[in-house]
């Protein structure tokens, strides 16, 4: 167990604000939802994970975390003091720890501290005590853009049930089942907030799938998407049962469902698209047959859908399709069958089973979404938005990602808008030429070559606070970057022991999940030398040693500054490889 575990969190977060650590704080319900590792035959067990090579373990660990837009740094996973040629895993029990962490709630004090870290707090002007302010991790997180806030939490919270819930909510709100469909005239940002908060509260409290969907069916935001009684019925059947309006029987179900809900209607634009009731038409006089059950009103219809045997299979299938894009229908069906055989009751059950399935973790080679690819890399490089107030990956990163039309990293340009599409994001990443060109341009220029966002040079450092006009201890955790000690261009001690080849592998493993080939290493070293970014020499044992490291003074001191520049060449190269955009299978 290294000090680095503290960084990734897994339920253990730093005491970020003194007030949150007060003995008088209400304590503490941590672990009241602590779960246990999965034990299904179709999910990857810890034992099976341990049987993989260290490189494969690292790749698989990051594959799992990347789906939640997170990443595991190589300097946390491996003991880099022993180099990377024969890597030694220091991060034990990844599968079990992660699964348990995802089911373990944060303590209220931890959550409070994280809220302060995300949003910051102002100094109290009426006190003359020391500066108590906490600079926010993000800026301009507006209440009417709840999706930004949810992503901020999913990125900032340690791996935990709370983090999982925020990510699941964001994920589900981008599926056809819960999309607030901002592209439509009848929806607005209130619907984004409604669906995310509804999902977060429902999932956090452990509500089962049927209850969550039953509760959503009569929500204004669902009606703002479906808009008329008949279409409300039709969409219920399509979205939650996978029954399309195809046969005469199905069309009659839709017609009858529409009649059952006929007392409800959506007002027009002038009346802000509210769900209203025509009290002259409440209920129906005769029972209506829908899916061989008799109903009398819309409430009855909701009950039929929420209780229908196709509902859980449909939910499992919708979620699985995102993870298993590109796999054969047989393979997908086997995963759906396997998940169903576990009797999943909650969305959490489904996500955990699919995310940790052997089919996904060991076999999937689907394209990574921009969020999966970029943020996996950034987290693995110890990224912090505090590296910049206004930079693309700085404190406004989620505004740039979700709500900007001009930012390079706007997912809208990649055909991958969030919260926008009526049918949600497709279960496959758009790879048309325009979408992919935008993806490549964004990840290359705004992420991989944007080295100040992750190398550590511009990170807040302890001295920013301890040597300020009014000295104080840092009000948030000071973190080092991917290469440098926070706020410096001094190489992190974790990287000291790496040879030049190992440093190249370190960057390759982090960005692409594999080591460099011998040819790639030699080519890159040649370019690095040409650019005068590095010199390497043989140590006493005849091994080429990275001369970017600090130590002996003289020229070595200088070249340390160019670690990020040399890495930039590698990252530029990788960004141009088709394989960079795909998950890797375990060979």
């Amino acid at each position: 167990m290294g000090r680095s575990f503290h960084r990734l969190g897994f339920g253990l977060i730093a005491c970020l604000a003194l007030s949150a650590c007060s003995p008088s704080s209400p304590e503490d319900k941590a672990g009241d939802r602590a779960g246990s590792p999965l034990s299904y035959s179709f999910t990857l067990s810890q034992q099976e994970f341990d049987a993989l090579s260290p490189d494969e373990q690292f790749m698989v660990a990051n594959k799992a975390l990347s789906t939640m837009y997170r990443g595991l740094p190589a300097d946390e996973f491996f003991d880099l003091t022993q180099g990377l040629d024969q890597p030694v895993v220091q991060y034990d029990n990844f599968i079990n720890r992660t699964q348990v962490a995802l089911q373990t709630k944060l303590k209220p004090s931890e959550e409070l501290a994280l809220e302060k870290d995300i949003f910051g707090i102002e100094d109290q002007p009426d006190t003359e005590e020391v500066d108590e302010s906490i600079p926010s991790r993000f800026r301009d997180l507006r209440n009417n853009r709840t999706d930004q806030i949810f992503l901020a939490k999913a990125h900032t919270y340690p791996i935990s049930h709370d983090q999982f819930v925020h990510w699941m909510s964001y994920f589900l709100a981008n599926t056809i089942m819960f999309s607030p469909a901002l592209e439509m005239d009848s929806t607005d940002n209130q619907d984004v907030q409604r669906v995310l908060v509804y999902l977060q509260e429902s999932l956090a409290s452990g509500k089962d799938i049927r209850t969550v969907i039953r509760g959503w069916l009569n929500n204004l935001s669902r009606w703002r998407v479906s808009r008329s009684p008949e279409n409300h019925a039709l969409e219920m059947f399509e979205l939650y049962l996978g029954v399309f309006n195809d046969s005469p029987e199905e069309q009659q179900n839709t017609i009858n469902g529409g009649i059952a809900c006929n007392d409800l209607f959506l007002t027009d634009d002038a009346e802000d698209y509210q769900l209203a009731r025509d009290t002259t038409q409440v209920g129906v006089k005769v029972p209506l047959k829908v899916f061989d059950q008799y109903i009398y009103d819309c409430e009855g219809l909701y009950g039929v859908v929420a209780g229908h045997p196709l509902l859980i299979p449909r939910v499992v299938e919708v979620i699985s399709n995102y993870f298993l894009d590109g796999m054969s229908s047989e393979k997908k069906r086997s995963v759906v069958n396997d998940v169903l055989s576990t009797g999943p009751e909650t969305f959490e059950d489904v996500f955990l089973a699919v995310m940790f399935s052997k089919v996904f973790l060991l076999e999937s080679e689907r394209p990574k979404t921009f969020e999966e690819n970029a943020f996996n890399f950034l987290h693995a490089m110890h990224w912090t938005p505090r590296s910049s107030e206004f930079g693309t990956l700085g404190k406004r990163v989620f505004n740039n990602l979700l709500n900007s039309t001009s930012s390079q990293i706007a997912v809208e340009k990649m055909g991958w808008s969030a919260m926008d599409y009526k049918i949600g994001r497709t279960p496959f990443l758009p790879m048309d030429v325009l979408s992919f060109a935008s993806y490549h341009q964004a990840i290359r220029e705004s992420v991989l070559l944007n080295n100040r966002a992750f190398d550590g040079r511009n990170y807040p450092k302890t001295e920013d606070f301890t040597e300020a006009l009014e000295p104080r201890e840092p009000p948030f955790e000071i973190v080092d970057g991917g290469f440098y000690i926070a706020g410096t261009e001094n190489l992190k001690p974790e990287l000291d022991a790496l040879t030049l080849d190992e440093f190249i592998d370190f960057v390759f493993l982090t960005a692409m999940g594999r080591k460099a080939t011998a040819v790639e290493r030699e080519d890159l070293k040649a370019i690095g030398e040409t650019r005068d970014h590095l010199r390497y020499y043989e140590n006493d044992d005849g091994v080429e040693v990275l001369s970017l490291r600090r130590g002996n003074g003289g020229d070595d001191e200088l070249y340390e500054y160019w670690t990020d520049d040399f890495a930039e060449i590698m990252l530029d190269y990788m960004s141009r490889l088709p394989e960079f955009y795909y998950y890797r299978a375990v060979q």
């Binding site: 008329s228 399309f244 009649i259 027009d268 030429v433 490889l577």
Partner: protein, 504 residues
């Protein structure tokens, strides 16, 4: 096996419960392109712009012929205060587009179009012989009211929607199969096609990733003939910024690595193709971008103004590309997602204006096309004719005609096809009906209930929506084009418009 039987069989399977998964398993349906007969290339290569009204537009803009009966039986009154006002059922007194005030004039035009919902523009285009309105596009083989199935059927031109190629891909493979027939075919700049695989930007989408270009799982389409996407500003994300002095070295490394990974091309096909296309488009998009400025031959330079709307800009880009690049043969235009025309509630407050904006933009497009003879193409030649550009407009399906309680219309079947231009590439009997309205309908369904709709009259001509696809293949020279719309569930395919129109 009939489709119904197939669906029943599929639904009995234990898991993989979506039709997508099931149909994928059940069969694949790549057409046999060698069975398509192309005895001769067309006199001039067509250029087709397919505009898809996602969500399924109401037919009423183009068909008020039954509106009195519809209103009499509708649950909600079209003429009531909260709907389309008291003059809705009255004849329009003029066709003045400036007199579009619904409060002052009737809405039924001479051809029973909805005046305010683009009717004035359609009347103008009918009078000019630039348009044919088909009122009876009705699904009878598979009358689904589902968005997904309907969209996929229309984009693929078949009932089989899983694992089957889109219209653009089928057309590309048809051209490829018969490439020798097209070698000497003329483009609209008077130049010969030459090698079909060397055309510039032959297949384009302005609607993002689209099923129109879904690949054929059994037949490889050369990269050059695959659909590529553009936006309405011809924006150019294909450029590579932040390149340093190591650029050449890095590119050499990439080339070396990719040569080793050639066998993995299919595994990484999306990104691989994207990189290949990036290089091609990096320079071409710069050229295209200039066409939207006030350069000679642009719409603005010809005195034509498109409506300032997202669709107007999209259409201007598509038409500009068609005019200036005769090698662009097929384009998909539309609004991604389902929000656009899915008017469950927006019939009253949005539909008419949206439809009017659509038709106004198309009228601008026709004016642009008609004025573009003689413009210089991006290849430096002179355009010699413009009657090869076809614009089709249709959607998922039609809508019920009962005005529902939310002020809109729910899903139904019968819809219109609005088709424009292209007299030079349509079969003679199809070209002969330019300027006409084809097909008649009547209302059916129980009075004062929601489920009321129009159907083609028994003596009316009528077509399946997939007739649009089979007609496009026909424009490009296929004499048995229905074969390209056939599948195991529909062995005969779908007849073209010309197949059913009276001979001349």
């Amino acid at each position: 096996m009939k489709r119904r039987d197939f669906l029943k069989m599929a639904s009995a399977l234990p898991v993989g419960l979506s039709m997508a998964g099931l149909a994928q398993k059940a069969y694949a349906a790549s057409p046999a392109y060698s069975n398509v007969t192309v005895p001769a290339a067309p006199a001039v290569m067509p250029q087709v712009i397919n505009i898809f009204m996602y969500g399924g537009a109401s037919e009423l803009a183009g068909n008020l012929s039954n509106i009195v009966d519809i209103n009499m039986n509708s649950v909600n009154d079209y003429t009531a205060d909260n709907a389309f006002r008291s003059t809705f059922l009255q004849a329009a007194t003029d066709n003045d587009p400036n007199n579009r005030n619904r409060f002052q004039d009737g809405q039924i035009t001479a051809n029973n179009l909805w005046k305010e919902a683009g009717g004035t523009h359609m009347e103008d285009m009918l009078s000019a012989g630039d348009m044919t309105l088909y009122r009876t596009l009705n699904k009878e083989v598979s009358p689904t009211r589902s968005h997904r199935e309907s969209i996929f059927m229309s984009h693929k031109g078949t009932i089989d929607i899983e694992n089957s190629p889109g219209i653009g891909s089928r057309l590309a493979l048809m051209l490829l199969q018969h490439k020798s027939s097209y070698t000497t075919a003329l483009l609209s700049n008077g130049q010969a096609v030459g090698d079909i695989e060397q055309l510039t930007l032959p297949f384009v989408s302005f609607e993002g990733d689209t099923q129109t270009y879904a690949l054929d799982p059994e037949n490889t389409i050369p990269l050059q003939l695959r659909g590529l996407t553009m936006d309405s500003s011809f924006n150019n994300p294909y450029t590579r910024g932040s390149t340093g002095s190591s650029e050449a070295d890095i590119e050499a490394m990439v080339t070396a690595r990719k040569s080793l990974l050639e066998s993995d091309r299919s595994k990484f096909s999306g990104a691989w193709d994207g990189f290949d296309k990036r290089e091609e488009l990096e320079s071409k998009m710069t050229d295209l971008d200039a066409l939207l400025d006030d350069t000679t031959g642009s719409a603005a330079s010809l005195g034509i103004t498109y409506p300032d709307s997202s669709f107007g800009r999209q259409l201007e880009a598509a038409v500009t590309l068609a005019i200036h690049n005769p090698e662009t043969l097929y384009m998909a235009v539309g609004t991604p997602g389902l929000g656009g025309w899915d008017d469950h509630n927006n019939g009253i407050d949005r539909y008419a204006n949206r439809m009017n904006g659509l038709m106004e933009a198309i009228k601008s497009a026709m004016a642009h096309i008609n004025a573009s003879n003689g413009v210089t193409t991006i290849g430096g030649q002179t355009r010699t004719r413009t009657d090869n550009i076809v614009i089709n407009v249709f959607g998922d399906f039609g809508r019920l005609v009962n005005l529902n309680g939310s002020g809109g219309w729910d899903h139904a079947n019968n819809q219109n096809l609005y088709t424009f231009g292209g007299a030079g590439v349509r079969p003679a009997n199809e070209a002969a009906v330019m300027g006409q309205v084809i097909g008649t309908t009547h209302r059916e369904g129980r009075t004062k209930t929601n489920n009321q709709y129009t159907v083609p009259d028994s003596d009316s001509l009528k077509w399946e929506p997939m007739a649009v696809a089979s007609s496009i293949y026909q424009y490009f020279g296929a004499t048995n084009s229905p074969i390209l719309t056939a599948d195991p569930l529909n062995l005969d395919g779908f007849e073209t418009f010309a197949d059913k129109l009276p001979s001349i």
